[in-house]
Symmetry: C2
Subunit: 153 residues, 2 copies
DNA sequence: ATAATTGTTGACTAAAATACTAGGTTATCT
DNA sequence: AGATAACCTAGTATTTTAGTCAACAATTAT
């Protein structure tokens, strides 16, 4: 699996969309300015996101991007998989070259860990993050202690 | 944060160490052959792991590497952080260029997600994976149903 | 109708990270 | 002494990242 700044950009941009998409489509130019990501790079990322149905583009003046689905139906795993290839090349490809099953064991262990991470990211939606952002704001304004600010899933 | 094949290599190699370290030190040549990772590349990775105290090298004939601590005291986050820089460059650096706090909001949301992933990886130790590997083997030999094979943290 | 706006697509590029190679030095065991 | 294996340094090919540039298509406002 991969999880680099590319996926981070995509998640951040999608968050921007979720936060400002209520009042009409959001232009890539806005996101570019808000998040400090190059416009053309965003276009590339959104081409991937669009092909997976995660966003919906509206052309012409006043156009921009909407979320492709409800924010509660879009998981972080969805977004990262759309822009960041989810490679699975460590599993021995049935060549039978695993001596004593040792190689198979470590590989299956890693695969299990990889699956755990995937399930974790699959369990968080954009909606969750936005809701938690609100909570964080409320908590912050109430000046609670730091322990109270740590929101657990 | 980063989580690419580099960290995957490191985790896999450390798993190898945890699985075979009982009967003496494990050589990088063995790991290289078992896991199909280039020897010199492993040396680079282990230089990082060693500097963080995650492994302990023994020179000379019959030498190799031991785990630096008990496998229950080594988390996946430890390993990935040792070889894969844990960058934190999205947070606005106090330049006050966040208009209306919107940029700050998405950034803090991402930071929160990033922290969740970190905590998740921090909660899994090498020992956990090895134990689960045993469990998996037992379960597999008992031919239980597939649901029983999915181990949850 | 026409101009402005915005998405869509493709080709191309500089910089960085990745994965690997080559060659050496040092400690330790037999 | 000689073999072994960690340890160290430098270099390099490939891939990925992050970005630019340019042309084009669809839609809206004037």
């Amino acid at each position: 699996m991969r999880l680099s700044t590319k996926g981070r950009y995509a998640v951040t941009a999608m968050l921007d969309l979720a936060l400002h998409g209520e009042k009409g489509p959001v232009t890539l130019a806005d996101i570019s300015e808000n998040q400090g990501i190059s416009l053309s790079y965003l276009e590339q990322l959104f081409a991937s996101l669009r092909s997976k149905g995660l966003v919906r583009g509206v052309r012409g003046p006043g156009g921009g991007y909407y979320l492709g689905r409800e924010m509660d139906e879009i998981t972080i795993a969805n977004i990262i998989c759309a822009v960041d290839e989810w490679v699975e090349f460590t599993r021995c490809q049935g060549k039978g070259n695993c001596r004593g099953g040792q190689r198979c064991l470590t590989h299956s262990l890693w695969d299990e860990l990889s699956e755990q991470i995937y399930n974790f990211l699959e369990g968080i939606t954009l909606g969750d993050l936005v809701k938690r952002g609100d909570i964080l704001d409320v908590v912050k304004s109430q000046r609670q202690d730091k322990e109270g600010m740590r929101v657990v899933i």
